[in-house]
């Protein structure tokens, strides 16, 4: 079971598995989230290359995993504990490109108040999208705690934890899956197996035949899905969410995909990713097959898709322009939010800092370039 690959659409968009019942509105939103991700991603690459933002993380090729999984969640009651490569989860639930760009720029409107690197998004509305941190794997046990709180209160919410193939080697993967199994926590563990952890290929990450197989040791089902098939991901995650809601406990899903860009804007993947492998996976692009399916099924016409595509491109470009003009966060945001209340020693440091820089005319309402 755990070594079979669930597929509904083959790379050409032909149905090869039983068609899931997905509402047309959801299908359209899935496409929009994937297109938004692709354009946002592309825009961020350009912004980084021109020095406007310091960093980004390509989502190219893996959009279907994040979008398909997000569509299985109910934002009224569920939580997302995302990885940094899950832009489509935010887009699916209606986070605006501008809110995302604010974090990319670390500007005055950024939810994180410019305190984190780009791509470490935090949202509470319109969906609980847990603040991302850099250490790999730490959010897995946290997702279990979030889920356990709901279980203890008798709520039927679920927490989705998303992470990479590299993340399966982390301490948090083991403690997270182990605790979830023992407590029967309503968690869905979604491994985005994009074959690479920076330059480290999957066979250097684990000797296990599949990642899904690891589920067995933790006493939960493991599923393996074609991560470039948005309908397959959606189906697998929907079933796992259903199990979790029904009190049947956690599931591990391995979505097999391929990172088509670099690890980040600081990486040159041509030094280690074989060109033939990329060529092979280019044929399996998740957007091509999903668009063909939508057209074949009469859900959307080609012109309609082209119009949506153009709209997404424009929204991302406009978001970048808006975010670039917002200026930096105020100097006191260095000191706020360390604690609920500012302790005296931090107040003293804050007063000193503001006095020191404002006497030089710096740091106060500063608008400027982002040299990062």
């Amino acid at each position: 079971m755990s070594d079979q690959l669930l597929q509904i659409l083959d790379p050409t968009g032909r149905k090869v598995g039983p068609a899931p019942r997905v509402r047309r509105e959801v299908l359209r939103r899935l496409l929009r989230a994937m297109l938004m991700t692709r354009h946002f991603d592309d825009r961020c690459m350009k912004l980084q290359r021109t020095g406007k933002i310091g960093f980004s993380v390509p989502n190219l090729g893996i959009e279907a995993v994040s979008a398909g999984a997000a569509a299985a969640l109910d934002p009224e009651r569920d939580w997302i504990a995302p990885s940094y490569r899950d832009f489509a989860m935010a887009f699916y639930h209606g986070v605006s490109a501008e809110a995302m760009m604010d974090t990319q720029f670390g500007n005055a409107a950024d939810n994180n108040r410019g305190r984190q690197m780009p791509v470490h998004f935090t949202f509470r509305e319109p969906v609980r999208f847990l603040s991302i941190s850099s250490p790999i794997g730490t959010h897995l046990p946290q997702a279990v705690g979030i889920a356990l709180a709901m279980k203890k209160r008798g709520e039927d919410g679920v927490c989705l934890a998303s992470f990479g193939d590299g993340g399966t080697s982390s301490l948090g993967f083991h403690s997270g899956l182990n605790f979830a199994g023992v407590f029967g926590a309503p968690v869905v563990f979604l491994c985005q197996n994009n074959q690479w952890a920076i330059s480290c290929p999957i066979d250097k990450q684990t000797a296990s035949a599949t990642i899904a197989a690891k589920a067995e040791a933790y006493g939960m089902p493991g599923r393996r899905v074609d991560g470039n098939d948005v309908l397959a991901v959606h189906k697998a995650v929907t079933e796992a969410v259903k199990r979790a809601r029904a009190g049947e406990g956690p599931t591990l899903i391995e979505a097999v995909t391929m990172r088509m860009g670099g690890h980040s804007t600081s990486d040159d993947p041509s030094r280690y990713v074989p060109a033939e492998l990329l060529a092979e996976w280019r044929e399996k692009d998740p957007l091509i097959r999903f668009q063909r399916f939508l057209v074949d099924q009469g859900v959307m016409g080609e012109e309609e898709i082209a119009a949506l595509d153009a709209e997404c491109a424009e929204e991302c470009a406009a978001a970048a322009r808006a975010a670039a003009g917002k200026g930096r966060p105020a100097l006191d945001t260095i000191f706020s939010d360390v604690y609920a209340e500012l302790p005296p020693h931090l107040r003293a440091q804050q007063d000193w800092c503001i006095r020191h820089y404002s006497s030089r005319g710096e740091g106060v309402d500063e608008k400027g370039e982002f040299p990062l």
């Binding site: 935090t122 279990v144 705690g145 709180a149 301490l171 403690s175 605790f179 604690y339």
Partner: protein
């Protein structure tokens, strides 16, 4: 009022708060039916059920990680780490996660949790059941670090810690768990965080200390009083982060002669911070250099632990040095 030991006062604090607030949960290794290896959680599962006081797998990273998740989602977890020595697998969760959630999310996600753990020497626990790791954690903005030294403070500080909106590391001096009893107020009893306690008045010199070193320093101050009539003030810092710096500076200024005592190693220990604070803010009032009495810069020994741990004699020697300094 009832007379309780420090560990009973911790237990009483947990029970009192759990009765009042049903979001308070207790989790950790063996905290359930067994009541914890030191019996700090005795009777909790019986009274509140397994939903609210439960055993976890042997995984400190998991205990704190899951605790963080519970706190993120409306609960008030009190996680127990069986010995502070075993907290390091969870160091990442504490330092990178619990302490930074509020800051990194612009206040959108917060972690009101308590991590209780017995620390320190005196029970022949050797390298791995004796350490005082407070300095590692006091270097962590976003975290609070509390160390009680009496039963009444243990209960009052624990309740304040549970009610605090930020993560609190609550270090319990295991050497004092059953060393004496004290009257402890019944029901909800709070001791505010970030306040010091003057254990003993005096203005010839001041000793800053915390946890299991407090009674040691009291004895030293008594001996000095008997031997030479000097009045040595003893100040229990009780919250190490955020520290009541003003109180420390004021006491240093009032006395002019300072000794700092902790059982943790000296190098980069908490005493260095106190010394630096005084150097920066009260050097003009100092009549002698600050002297530190600490554990050695070695791992914690077993058979010879009583040579490692500061005792009243070592504190008396240090007090004599500062008192005799001209």
């Amino acid at each position: 009022m009832t007379e309780l030991t420090l560990v009973q006062a911790v237990n009483d604090g947990l029970k009192t708060k759990m009765r009042e607030d049903e979001t308070v949960l207790v989790l950790g290794e063996d905290v359930g039916p067994k009541g914890g290896v030191f019996l700090a959680t005795e009777g909790l599962t019986a009274e509140f059920g397994e939903e609210r006081c439960f055993d976890t797998p042997l995984s400190e990273d998991g205990i704190i990680g899951v605790g963080i998740g519970l706190a993120l989602n409306g609960m008030k977890p009190v996680c127990e780490i069986q010995f502070q020595d075993f907290i390091f697998p969870a160091f990442d969760q504490i330092v990178s996660e619990a302490a930074k959630f509020r800051y990194r999310s612009g206040g959108m996600y917060t972690v009101p949790m308590v991590i209780r753990t017995p620390y320190g020497g005196g029970i022949r626990g050797g390298l791995y059941h004796s350490q005082s790791g407070e300095a590692y954690f006091c270097h962590t903005p976003g975290l609070k670090v509390v160390v009680p030294s009496t039963p009444a403070d243990a209960k009052g500080l624990l309740i304040s810690a549970i009610e605090d909106p930020d993560p609190v590391l609550f270090l319990e001096p295991k050497a004092l768990y059953r060393s004496f009893r004290q009257e402890v107020p019944e029901g909800i009893w709070r001791v505010p965080l970030s306040t010091v306690r003057e254990v003993r008045p005096g203005d010839d010199a001041v000793v800053f200390c915390y946890g299991a070193m407090v009674p040691v320093c009291e004895r030293a101050a008594e001996r000095i009083a008997e031997a030479r009539g000097a009045a040595v003030r003893v100040v229990d810092l009780r919250t190490l982060l955020p520290l009541d710096e003003e109180a420390v500076i004021a006491a240093a200024r009032a006395c002019g002669r300072v000794v700092v005592v902790h059982e943790a190693p000296r190098f980069c220990g908490y005493g260095a911070e106190i010394s630096a604070l005084i150097a920066e803010h009260a050097i003009d009032a100092m009549e002698a250099p600050v002297v530190r009495v600490t554990g050695f810069d070695t791992p914690f020994p077993n058979t010879l632990e009583h040579y490692y741990l500061p005792d009243a004699r070592r504190v008396v020697d240090a007090l004599e040095r500062v008192l005799d300094y001209e």
